[in-house]
Amino acid sequence: MSVTGSVRSAQAPLIDVRDLERTFDVRRRVDGGRRRVRDSVLAVHDLTFSVQAGEMVGYIGPNGAGKSTTIKMLTGILVPTGGHVSVAGLDPSRDRVELARRIGVVFGQRSTLWWDLPLRDSFDLLQKMYRISPARYRDNLGRFVELLDLGDQLDTPVRQLSLGQRMRGDITAALLHDPEVLYLDEPTIGLDVVSKGRLREFLRALNDERGTTLLLTTHDLQDIEALCDRVIVIDHGTSVYDGPLAGLHVEGGSSRTLVVDLVDEAPPVEVPGATVRRVEGPRQWLSFPADASAAPIVAAVAASYDVADLSIQEPDIEDVIRELYSRGAPEPLG
């Protein structure tokens, strides 16, 4: 056991999660509130994945899937009820204080900043807590304040900041100590389109320049499309997809759509390899597997019908995800 530390090679994953499980004991009212029973919620189970240093991973799933619970176990906030988790070679719940120096966490719904104090005071205190050297602190603060355009807000109490300003403050707070990993739990929630765009740009630059590993949960798939080469989809507490964003189409059994404008109205067209989904006057929607070629289908339609126009719609990633979610895991949940 004592050798594991020394043989940890550069290739060892930064985040390593194996068969991770977390249950919550809850009390539920039954019989119209007259009786209370103990119940156990399986928030995360059989979860296995690993992340290499420098990766940007999207961690997505429907409400209640277990995303925040996973992040809380990765940061040591929650103790797992089963399985194994290690981050940077440390056990998060056991070595929580030590690990805290090497990670950054942003919970989009909650601020880490001190509500009544000016932003600058919060940052100063973080410098002391993390024991950041004055030179590095000045450098980092200057850079993040410039990149995130926070200069005018530094002396404003946090409670007077707008949501977007506060979020930028929170992200700065999470990065002052140069963490190796940054966990972001719904960082773009409530932000307008421009702020979202700027934040994504910032995160991308952070990963490019400093190699910071990013694990990001979000309900906005544009965040994922803009940032992450890899997505992990979690549903009912366990991972249902882990791979490149593009591969989701195959996994989700998604289809492309051929929109055919006929010269005259006609009964649904019949061609091999495609099925008609919808008919509206002379326009018909045919769907076919995303990984099949459109050419033979187009040729077949053109050969047997009078076609005025044709177009192809690529599958919508949101539909794919929805399809994945609706299939779900077989495990029933309390």
Binding site: V79, E98, D121, D124
Partner: protein, 270 residues
Amino acid sequence: MAEAGAALHLRSYFQIAWLWIRAAWQYPTSFVLLALGNGLITGLDFVGLWIMFAHLDDLKGFTLHEVALLYGSASLALAVADTAIGSVERIGTYIRTGRLDQMLTKPVPLLVQVCADQFTLRRLGRLTQAAVVFGWACTYVDWTPLRVLVAVSMLLSGGLVFFGLFVGFSCVQFWTTDATEFANAFTYGGATVTQYPLNIFPREVLVGLTFVIPVAFVNWYPCLYLLGRSDPAGMPEAFQFASPLAGVLTMAAALLVWRSGVRHYTSTGS
């Protein structure tokens, strides 16, 4: 916890506390008013005792300055503990608001952060008042070197006992929320009890205050020694020197409960 670690934790504590003092100074008037008000309320407490003595010659054999010694030492220990770590009571609020999650991601032990958070000197009034009463009562004590030693260790150990009680009972909130009242019954309740000579209570209560919630060690036993009195309840004389032990044991028990509370912590669902 290594020596160096403890010093670092203490430094972190003062850094956080200092931030809150600076923040409070932004509203100096309200700060001064609060401190004054607090001092006034606790001052009235003592006036109440005084009035009682105007009608009684003594309280179960204890004269006014003897009761003042009991009252002053217990108040002083409580005020110090309350100032230093009083915010640990708010842990239920920290849990509900998610503040605790944030603290758990910082590289400073949770207990240090919780105790220092929202540090306030508004108890300064109570602290001063307790110190004045204690100082006055001390002028009646027949001092010897050993009595000085016992007096100093009494104040330190008393602080530790209250520290332990505050932390220990606040941990209940890791298991059930809204248990502040429950915790207060033991901490402030225990503190109130120690303002009186404990021989006014039945012996069973004294045993409880010795072995279960050891507030009798905060002032009662060591004060008996300072006053050169034999124990009216006939407890072993060694108890009069056992305050440091009681303080350390209470703290150790509280830290164990705290650790298991943190491991049991379930965060919130959102």
